[in-house]
């Protein structure tokens, strides 16, 4: 099939970008979306043009590196699917496809479709961990954890840190990302000891890093390739209130 692509091109952080039009010819329905872009890039190179820069690595939907907004939806039209797992059979011959980078103040564009997402690492740095030393820990079965809690922790911990939630959020908020980590750790007995402190510093770090606030549009859940749920945001809010109530008592 043949497609018309409108792709965001931007040379560097401080330069202005724009949407440029490209034709993708003879695209097979078997290709993944990124393989389609590979193909376009091969042609660009052969025509002495600069290829389109985009982030990707594992190409199996788990590293969280790939990050493109396709026709207005982060990771494109197929639900619960990263761009790298999206296949061209979901498009039709003659389609126009708009491809843009994640947009949020906390994610400045570095080049073309590549953004700087280190702000998400900063949120984790603030407190997204259990402060355990290497070695000197009890036997793994010394603390029992109900299956239900372990499952909730796992549900939350499936987040791949791609930032689609931020890209989808009209407020550029990283609330779903932060909430997933809070929920993961607060669902486990090991994580509860630092829970109050953690939720305060992580939400603070989120704002410090230029993310917006949550106003419950729930776009994040719809965009999340891993199905991370907004109920975790409620959990974060609950933990937050608990922390503050404890503080003021």
């Amino acid at each position: 099939m043949n497609l018309t692509l409108f792709i965001w091109r931007q040379k560097g952080r401080d330069t202005k970008g724009s949407l440029e039009q490209y034709e993708a010819k003879d695209i097979s329905t078997e290709m993944s979306f990124l393989e389609m872009l590979d193909e376009v890039n091969e042609q660009l190179i052969k025509n002495n043009q600069e290829p389109i820069a985009f982030d990707h690595d594992c190409r199996e939907g788990i590293c969280g590196m790939c990050s493109q907004v396709i026709n207005g939806v982060p990771h494109g039209p197929q639900q619960r699917t990263t761009v790298c797992q999206l296949h061209m059979r979901h498009f039709k011959d003659g389609d126009s496809i708009y491809i843009e980078p994640w947009r949020a103040r906390a994610f400045p564009v570095i080049k073309d479709l590549i953004t700087d997402r280190s702000s998400m690492d900063s949120i984790i740095q603030a407190g997204g961990y259990i402060s355990v030393h290497t070695g000197g820990v009890p036997d793994a079965n010394a603390v029992l954890i109900s299956k239900e809690n372990a499952d909730t922790a796992m549900d939350a911990s499936e987040c791949i840190g791609c930032g689609a939630c931020v890209a989808a959020c009209p407020n550029g908020s990283a609330m779903l990302f932060t909430a997933a980590k809070i929920t993961h750790l607060a669902s486990l007995p090991q994580g509860q000891i630092e829970a109050a402190r953690r939720v305060c510093i992580m939400t603070e770090a989120m704002l410090q890093n230029g993310f917006g606030n949550c106003s419950n549009h729930y776009e994040c859940q719809a965009a999340c390739p891993k199905g991370i749920r907004v109920s975790f945001i409620a959990k974060l809010n609950r933990e937050f209130m608990k922390a503050h109530l404890k503080d003021s008592v």
Binding site: V73, Y98, S173, G212, C214
Partner: protein, 209 residues
């Protein structure tokens, strides 16, 4: 934000129930009873004023922060769950705020339509004629239109705001959120119908005070 919003919602529910006294013809008596407790009324007004002010300050602050966090928009954007209501909270809120000033000038300070002011008109039993004031005002198409418009804005505001406040205060959960979303929207709708019915029914002449 959420807590102030919830308190405002509570007020709005009570206010609607109070207003519905107009249908049973007891509005004047209800208003009179309220005014016989000036201390309570003033405390109440003060609390509401604080809540409102806080809500507005937080709301606008939040809006500005969030706008800053999303400086560039997509060339094409497709909403999946966001709604017109959720994206225009500050505007529907502000409209409600502006309307509130109008509403206070109209029915509390009563300087918009001084001719029908309850302060200067009494009903048959000698009480200030609130009911008459309301009915006379709403027979004016312009006034009714302002109210209908404002209540619509409020409806939009609450259709998102109510469920949102439950999420923000962490009351909702995986299981309850869908229910809360529905209940929030229904509550907003009931409030809308409750409020909009007064000017509409009066204007079309079904309620005559």
């Amino acid at each position: 934000m959420a807590v102030t919003g919830q308190i405002l919602v509570l007020f709005i529910i009570i206010h609607m129930i109070g207003n519905s006294a107009i249908y049973s013809g007891g509005l004047n008596a209800y208003a009179d009873r309220l005014h016989s407790l000036p201390l309570l009324v003033w405390i109440f007004r003060l609390v509401m004023l604080t809540m409102f002010s806080l809500h507005i300050v937080f709301g606008i602050g939040l809006y500005l922060e969030n706008r800053k966090a999303k400086p560039d928009e997509y060339a094409i954007r497709k909403d999946m769950r966001a709604t017109f209501a959720s994206k225009n909270m500050v505007w529907t809120g502000l409209l409600t705020g502006v309307f509130l000033v109008y509403h206070l000038l109209h029915f509390t300070i009563q300087i918009i339509h001084p001719e029908s002011a309850a302060l200067s008109n009494s009903d048959a039993s000698g009480l200030p004629d609130v009911s008459g004031m309301v009915v006379q005002s709403f027979q004016d198409a312009g006034v009714s239109a302002v109210y209908v418009f404002a209540v619509t804005a409020l409806f939009l505001h609450l259709s998102h705001g109510i469920q949102s406040s439950f999420q923000s205060t962490g009351i909702s959960s995986e299981r309850t959120l869908p229910v809360i979303i529905k209940t929030g929207a229904i509550t907003a709708l009931v409030l809308f119908l409750g409020y909009v019915s007064i000017p509409v029914l009066i204007y079309i002449g079904l309620v005559k005070g």
